[in-house]
Each structure stands twice: as structure tokens, then as C-alpha cells.
């Protein structure tokens, strides 16, 4: 029995007209930013082996991935993330390419969300990866590209900057099991002060314990740095903080002071981030529209260790926001309908091709009579009908 033949799976939808235009508009705009900065486009397969996205590394739970098997019974997933495939691709196919490698992509990812919550299971992301470069120049370039990309679409964004290493260094000092460490990370991630305090109260007082207690509250502008400085208990954490400060100052120089927030409690779910992490938010969307960071250990998993940094932007979210703000192209009807009288069908096609080449949007009539052609043109909102017969005749349609 056919039951589901008129609907699309939950979490997916058809894109029509203005939605399509909006998405392509954003994709094109961002691709232009990326390619103007020397990033080259790649496309990875929509399906990949499950092994590429090992949950321990990717932070993507197995229940989140859409799975199937291939002809030989091997486990396949629909791409749940683009960074892992790009790491795979770089480590296997670009071994001999001079470094750094600059790549960008625009493609959907698929994630199986819990039902009836209004989340999309198919999301188009666009992003860049700068592979084979470490240090502040690379980090700054990627952040500056993120800023440039967002400025062109949603200028009122907030960019949040953190460092995965800060929490990790502190957490290593705690006398706890990995499970408790994960509980602590989750409590910091969700700014759950109550849960965090409950765990930390059980531990003997020490400098790392009190530092971790402060961590989720350490977010804001430049004032965060002097507040965080006393929490650094060794050279490594002090260096991390200094590095973040240096980045912040550089961004201030770029005129981004008002748009950048530092959050030392930014400990992301994606476990592959090792150093800086950043994300961007806008008023009109309840979740991050951009996520990124440095993942220096990821390429090593594909046996070609190299430092790398990148980000992904949620294209669908940006397109929806810009569409609502009327910043995306409108759907317009063709301007001209070309109708050939009986015997002039081929001439009509040729004529239409000519004026289309001159830059007009035109349709050719599929109707038998002039009356039908005119009423169709009127109904579709076209401005002109051109009749081809022995003589060419143009009528202009008034707006009703």
C-alpha cells in the first residue's frame, strides 16, 4: 500500500522559487568570498563509510547518523559533517600538494534529529578549511574570512571566541575519571552552574577546581582576560590565554571589538577541536549560524598529521534570514511571451532565442490561438506579447 508518496520525510522539505533563489544567492555570495581568498572548491560524496566518522573522534553519536549498507554489507552513512571527509580527502589525495591547502565546500549534511522538534535533518553548509598551517596568521585569516562572509549576509552577528585547550589543560589537573571529566565538560557547555558546583564540591579544593568553577562565567569582552589571568596555574594555560588575547587584540584592530565575545567556557561537542574554537550568532536564529575551530589532531587519524583550521556556515539559516529581510532576489515572471501563429512556430522559437540572448527573459507560447496566449501572459504577470505572423506585432499588457 502506498502511504507516503505525497509527503517528504520528516526534517526535509522541497525548496520552491524564492527559497531556492535565496539559497543559491547566499551560496554564490559566500563562494565568491571564499574563492576570492584563494580557497578552491571540493565536493565529497553524499555517502561515506561509517568509519570516517568514528563517534569518539567526530563527536557525532551513531544514533544521529543515517545509515545503510553497501552491496558488500559494509556500513555506509549519509554525510553528517564535511570536515571529516575533507580531512580524509586531504590526507589521501593531496599528500604531495604544497601546503597550506585552501579548500571550500557547499553541500548538505544529514543528521537524524529526534522527531517533532522542528529541526532540519538536511542542512546545507558552506565552509572553508585551511590545512597544513599552524599559528596565529592562519587562525586570523580563517576568522577574518568568517567575518567577511557573515558581514556580507548578516552584518549584525556576534562572534564568539574560545579555546578548547584551556579547559582541557585545567581538566587534566583534576583527580577524576574520564566519565566525570565528561560530566564536567557538559556542565560547562550548558552553563549549568548548579551541576558543575555539585561535581566540584566533591573534590578537594585546589587551584584547578576553583578555576574550572569560574570557567562558564568567564565570557564577555576584553575584561575577561585580567579575570582569567589568575586562574592560569602553569605556563601552558598562561600561554593559551595570552594567545587568545593576542587574537582578540588583532580582531579589535579589525574594528570588531563590539562584535567579538570571548568565552573561556566554550567547550564544544565536536571533540576534534584542539585549540581555538569560534561560533557566530544572530538575533533571528536561536542557534549558532557558524561554527569553527582548529583541529590539529584530525589529519593524524588519517595518517597524515598536519595542523588545520576551518569553519562551516549554516546556509539555510542565513538564506531564511535574508529572505525575511527582503535581501534576496525576488521571483519575477518572464517579461515577454512570443507567440507564433500557425505556420510560424519555428520562427517564434528563433525570435525568442534572439531576444533571450539580448538579455530579456522570455517564454514561447504553447497555445494555438492569440487569445489564449494573451490571457496566459496576463495571468502570469508578463508585460508584452509579441505575435509572429506575416508581420510582427507587439502588444503591451496593462497591469489590471
Amino acid at each position: 500500500m502506498k502511504r507516503y508518496y505525497k509527503i517528504t520525510p520528516e526534517g526535509t522539505n522541497d525548496l520552491l522559487f524564492e527559497d531556492c533563489l535565496a539559497r543559491r544567492f547566499v551560496e554564490k555570495k559566500l563562494a565568491k568570498v571564499f574563492s576570492s581568498r584563494g580557497f578552491h572548491e571540493v565536493v565529497t560524496p553524499g555517502i561515506e563509510f561509517y568509519d570516517v566518522f568514528q563517534p569518539e573522534v567526530s563527536g557525532i553519536g551513531q544514533e544521529v547518523m543515517y545509515k545503510m549498507t553497501d552491496r558488500r554489507g559494509r556500513l555506509i552513512v549519509m554525510r553528517p559533517d564535511s570536515t571529516m571527509p575533507i580531512a580524509r580527502l586531504t590526507a589521501t589525495r593531496l599528500q604531495n600538494q604544497p601546503k597550506p591547502v585552501r579548500l571550500f565546500y557547499t553541500q548538505p549534511i544529514y543528521r537524524n534529529h529526534p522527531g517533532l522538534t522542528g529541526h532540519s535533518d538536511e542542512t546545507v553548509q558552506t565552509g572553508i578549511e585551511l590545512l597544513g598551517a599552524a599559528g596565529i596568521r592562519a587562525d586570523l585569516e580563517v576568522i577574518a574570512t568568517a567575518v567577511e562572509a557573515l558581514s556580507q549576509c548578516v552584518p549584525n552577528f556576534r562572534l564568539e571566541l574560545g579555546h578548547a585547550g584551556f579547559f582541557r589543560a585545567l581538566a587534566e589537573q583534576l583527580p577524576v575519571t574520564d566519565n566525570v571529566r565528561e560530566d564536567i565538560r557538559q556542565a560547562i557547555e550548558s552553563k549549568n552552574y548548579a551541576a558543575l558546583d555539585a561535581i566540584l564540591d566533591e573534590l578537594p579544593a585546589s587551584q584547578p577546581v576553583s578555576a574550572i568553577r569560574r570557567l562558564p562565567r568567564l565570557f564577555g569582552g576584553e575584561e575577561v582576560f585580567p579575570l582569567a589571568a589568575p586562574l592560569c596555574f602553569d605556563e601552558k594555560s598562561a600561554q593559551t590565554l595570552d594567545y587568545l588575547h593576542e587574537l582578540y587584540l588583532a580582531m579589535k584592530k579589525l574594528g570588531l571589538e563590539k562584535q567579538v565575545i570571548v568565552d573561556l567556557g566554550l567547550v564544544q561537542r565536536n571533540d576534534y577541536y584542539t585549540n581555538i574554537v569560534f561560533s557566530a550568532y544572530v538575533e533571528e536564529f536561536g542557534d549558532a549560524v557558524l561554527l569553527g575551530g582548529r583541529y590539529d589532531n584530525l589529519l593524524g587519524l588519517f595518517d597524515l598529521p598536519m595542523p588545520a583550521v576551518g569553519f562551516a556556515i549554516n546556509v539555510d539559516a542565513i538564506a531564511q534570514i535574508m529572505l525575511k529581510e527582503g535581501k534576496t532576489p525576488a521571483v519575477r515572471p518572464a517579461e515577454i511571451l512570443v507567440h507564433g501563429d500557425p505556420g510560424y512556430e519555428v520562427q517564434a522559437l528563433r525570435y525568442a532565442a534572439d531576444i533571450a540572448n539580448q538579455g530579456h527573459r522570455c517564454e514561447t507560447s504553447v497555445f494555438e490561438t492569440r487569445e489564449e496566449a494573451v490571457s496566459y501572459a496576463r495571468a502570469s504577470g508578463m508585460k508584452q506579447v509579441i505575435f509572429l505572423a506575416e508581420t510582427t506585432e507587439t502588444i503591451t499588457l496593462e497591469k489590471e
Binding site: P114, G118, E160, S190, K191, Y193, E283, D287
Partner: protein, 213 residues
């Protein structure tokens, strides 16, 4: 910019939150005699209160159409979601517990057990942590009925005083976790309106401490 919007779980948590907000100094008269309205101004329009069912509070906050929400930890554990859980408000206290017929050894024997619960996810997580295979049946109303009728071996439910359990010949087999009302915040709002939200959270925390004192 629109006023901060806070979603309140209708009923008891709503009343408690209102008195907390009043202790902070917000005028809540519009919420006190609300009629049938669902969006109400608080503190001369400084805040906007939205009244909703518990699970919907999470949904509204997660999608960012409400910046903050007050909801029980029970609902958070059952429905989950991505948001900040910034304050334990200290009221609406109770606990999740595994309960079953009095005097019966639940953990004995090797037969797989059947559990009835209004909170299937909480029940599933609890038994997964114990590495126990159980059959979970979702019940919408009085869960205590299920073991009495012989449908389930035990229940996972909220226990406040334990009176209902006792009157039906049930007892707590094992407490699962403590529950109380939480203040949750949408993650984007937290970044975009940090100063306002932090100020409000701090005020509420102080009012909570003062009430306790």
C-alpha cells in the same frame, strides 16, 4: 530590541517564579490576573512572560523564540535539548525514583523486567547506565496503576512525599535523581544579550538566597 521573553511552566512553577520575580522588584500584576492571555508584560514591559506546558518551554527556548524559561529538571531530563541551564531555582523539589510493590525483590531473578513510566527516556537512560535490559511501556496517567494491574514490575516516576505510593502498596526501590525548577537560557540569546540576561539571573539568584534566609 524586543523585551526579554521568559517562558514559564504553567501552574505551580509559574506561581513560584512570579513571586520570585516580584521579590526582585518586577510588577507581575498582569500575570496574576491574566484571563486567557498567553503573552503577558512583566515589570512595565521590561520582560515578557509566556505561559506554556513544561515540554513546550524547552521547545520555545531551544528555538530562541523565548530567551529564558523556567522548567522542572524532570522535563529537561526527559526531553533534553541544547540550551544553557544557568540556575537551580530551588523550588519544585522532588525526585525521580524507581518504585515497585512493597517487599518484592526487584533486582532478583533473571527474567527481563517491565517498567511503566511517564518518562520513558529517563527510564531508558537509567537502565542503560545499569546495563539492564528492560521493557519500557509509556503510560500517560497514573503510573501507579501499571504494577497494580500486573502490566509492569515497577515504575519510574516523580516522587514527592511518597503518599501515593504507600496508599497503593508500593515503595521506592531506588532513588534516581533529585529534581527542582531550573532557569534555562537560549544559547544565542546568552551571547547576544549577555548583560541583560546576566543581570536578571543574578537578581533572581539573590532573591532566591534571600527567600531561603
Amino acid at each position: 530590541m524586543r523585551p526579554l521573553r521568559i517562558a514559564l511552566t504553567k501552574g505551580r512553577l509559574e506561581q513560584k517564579t512570579i513571586s520570585l520575580l516580584e521579590a526582585v522588584g518586577y510588577d507581575c500584576s498582569a500575570v496574576r490576573d491574566k484571563g486567557r492571555k498567553l503573552i503577558l508584560p512583566v515589570g512595565n514591559g521590561k520582560l515578557e512572560a509566556v505561559l506554556a506546558k513544561a515540554a513546550d518551554v524547552i521547545t520555545y527556548v531551544e528555538h530562541g523564540v523565548c530567551d529564558l524559561g523556567v522548567v522542572g529538571k524532570d522535563t529537561i531530563l526527559e526531553y533534553g535539548g541544547g540550551f544553557y541551564e544557568v540556575l537551580d531555582l530551588g523550588f519544585g523539589k522532588c525526585q525521580f525514583a524507581l518504585a515497585g510493590p512493597k517487599g518484592k525483590d526487584f533486582f532478583g531473578g533473571y527474567a527481563a523486567k517491565t517498567i511503566a513510566s511517564k518518562y520513558p527516556n529517563v527510564a531508558r537512560n537509567y537502565f542503560e547506565r545499569k546495563a539492564m535490559d528492560v521493557r519500557i511501556i509509556k503510560i500517560e496517567g497514573s503510573v501507579e496503576l501499571a504494577p497494580l494491574l500486573g502490566l509492569a514490575d515497577a515504575i519510574v516516576d516523580i516522587v514527592e512525599t511518597g503518599t501515593t505510593l504507600k496508599e497503593n502498596g508500593l515503595e521506592v526501590i531506588e532513588p534516581i535523581c533529585d529534581i527542582s525548577a531550573r532557569l534555562i537560557v537560549n544559547s544565542a540569546s546568552m551571547k547576544l544579550r549577555k548583560t541583560e540576561i546576566e543581570a536578571l539571573v543574578e537578581q533572581m539568584e539573590r532573591a532566591k538566597e534571600e527567600k531561603r534566609a
